[in-house]
Amino acid sequence: MDSVILVLKHDKAAVLSLILLGIIILFALIAPLLPVDPNATDVINRLKSPSLTHLFGTDEVGRDYFARVIYGGRVSLLVGFLAMLTSLTIGVAVGTISGFCGGIIDAILMRIVDVLHSIPWMILVTVVSIFLKPGLKSIILVIGLFTWMEIARLVRAETLSLKEREFVLYAKFSGVGVLTIILRHIIPAVFPTIIVSATTSMANAIMTESSLSFLGVGIQQPMSSWGSLLQDAQGTMQNNFFMALIPGLLIIITIFSFNKLGNLLRVYVEPKVMNDEKE
């Protein structure tokens, strides 16, 4: 923990980004409690500049842009979080089973990882998304189901070395079942890796979602995410650049902060990294 505080003291950008991330998450969580409605149209006040009544102005049908940005963040973060959970679950399951069981199971699972890995993510995700009805659920599934390969590889590598450790060997000899060993001994031991992967995975999922929504194959109207807000803003950008600026900046801050968080956690779980950085 000391090392984390030390890093924070030196890295002002990390402190600032974590605070901003906290604010963004807080707003996303309490959005329904705020007195704003992202779908209320007001045709008289179309495309207004930011003011006190409309903090971020209004869009082309007079919806309050501040509310739309907050609700968009809610969708983006939700997709990121659930997709991350899905991909983490699959990755950890495949990685531990593959590493622990070895043999034919390992060979088959790793070949699947190789094949999925060799299809560029953009192509893979878009291709699969045409087989599902576009919407929130499918975008979470598509991102979650096809981004676990990296995590599986990492977890497998760690499992391979854990497998030879005394506490695992002992459990094996005393007749504990495979599933129990994986759940009780392997997963807690690879937990640091899992947590660090989670932050990267979250950042990637948010980026993927916004790209897909921007291209029009992600979140569909009337729901919107930061990516789809940017897609809408593309049309009216010439006069209302403000509307393109805000969701973009929020995406950058969020992804940057999750990456920073990942680095901090890495320092926390592997103090060795810290010693290298300090010299």
Binding site: M122, M207, M237
Partner: protein, 317 residues
């Protein structure tokens, strides 16, 4: 070494085959297929059967697969469901356009990354390093489409300096100057997209090398910083960096999908996105097969490069 390379090639072939099978299966189970496109509900069952027989869709599945695979190898990629155009003909126009954009952009980003990465890595925790590392940390978080929107707004709308749709203005297809004006913004976007991750890679590779024992030994013998850097560290840093080139191979087709779409560049990107939106399966599947094959080839290439330039691996194999 020849044995190692041969072994690598032999493991790559089943993977490519597996991907073609995967694509074919996906295409077969798609909710709308080539037969639906050629027939209409008013046709009698006999007519439909005749059309099926004409295109070989009445054959067992595995025979259809082999015919499709045979077509792939002979450059017969089939036809678009929507426009009925030959996919091979369409791609032969679009892939060169993507090449023109991605190849120079990647090379530029690559050289900039090597220079900046080495600079940052060798000046750890000093101002230069902080600036460069900060730039790449932020750069990784910037969505490429947002960066292009920023460029379009500033140079397209406000300063009215550059055009931002397509590759040429109407009626000026032969003008190089006009092409260059269209080229600047997508090119800049792509350089900016490729740059941050590459800088991070070179920088961390440099940091690892500087913490090696041989650097300490050289310092103990009183070698100058410059000497250590250019005579020893550089060589070792560039090993993994050169092999990274192989992995960039698939970018030549799919590296600019988003950027091309934003700028309406007539490359593979808009073609692919349009096919996705129009549920044009044959096109989507061909691009899937093509890009995955390039990934596998790229990995193969980078392994072979590694083997060629690193004597340690050469002797092992």
């Amino acid at each position: 070494m020849a044995k190692y390379i041969l072994k690598r090639i032999l493991t790559a072939i089943p993977m490519v085959l597996f991907i073609t099978i995967l694509c074919f299966t996906l295409m077969h189970f798609s909710p709308y297929d080539a037969i639906d496109a050629m027939t209409n509900p008013r046709m009698s069952q006999e007519t439909i059967d005749l059309i099926k027989a004409k295109y070989g869709y009445d054959q067992p599945l595995y025979i259809q697969y082999f015919r499709w695979l045979d077509g792939l190898m002979n450059g017969n990629y089939g036809y678009s469901i929507v426009t009925k155009q030959s996919i091979a003909a369409d791609l032969s126009v679009r892939i060169p356009n993507t090449f023109k954009l991605v190849l120079p952009a990647y090379i530029t980003a690559y050289f900039l990354a090597v220079v900046l990465g080495l600079l940052a890595g060798s000046h750890k925790n000093r101002t230069a390093d902080k600036l460069i590392d900060g730039f790449s940390s932020v750069g990784i978080a910037v969505p490429s489409f947002w960066f292009s929107m920023l460029l379009i707004f500033v140079f397209g709308y406000k300063l009215k300096l550059l055009p931002f749709v397509g590759m040429n203005s109407v009626g000026m297809e032969a003008s190089v100057a006009d092409f260059m004006r269209h080229y600047i913004m997508p090119f800049t976007t792509l350089v900016f997209t490729f740059l941050p991750a590459n800088i991070k890679f070179v920088r961390s590779s440099t940091l690892t090398q500087f913490s090696e024992d041989y650097v300490l030994v050289q310092q103990a013998f009183g070698a100058s910083k410059r000497e250590i850097m250019f005579k020893h560290v550089c060589k070792n840093v560039l090993l993994p960096v050169v092999t990274r080139l192989g992995m960039a191979l698939p970018l030549l087709v799919t590296g600019a999908i988003i950027t091309e779409t934003v700028f309406g560049w007539p490359g593979v990107g808009p073609y692919f996105i349009k096919a996705i939106q129009g549920l044009d399966y044959p096109i989507v599947m061909i691009i899937l097969v093509l890009s995955s094959t390039l990934v596998i080839l790229g990995n193969l290439l980078s392994d072979i490069l590694y083997c060629l330039i690193d004597p340690r691996i050469r002797e092992m194999g």
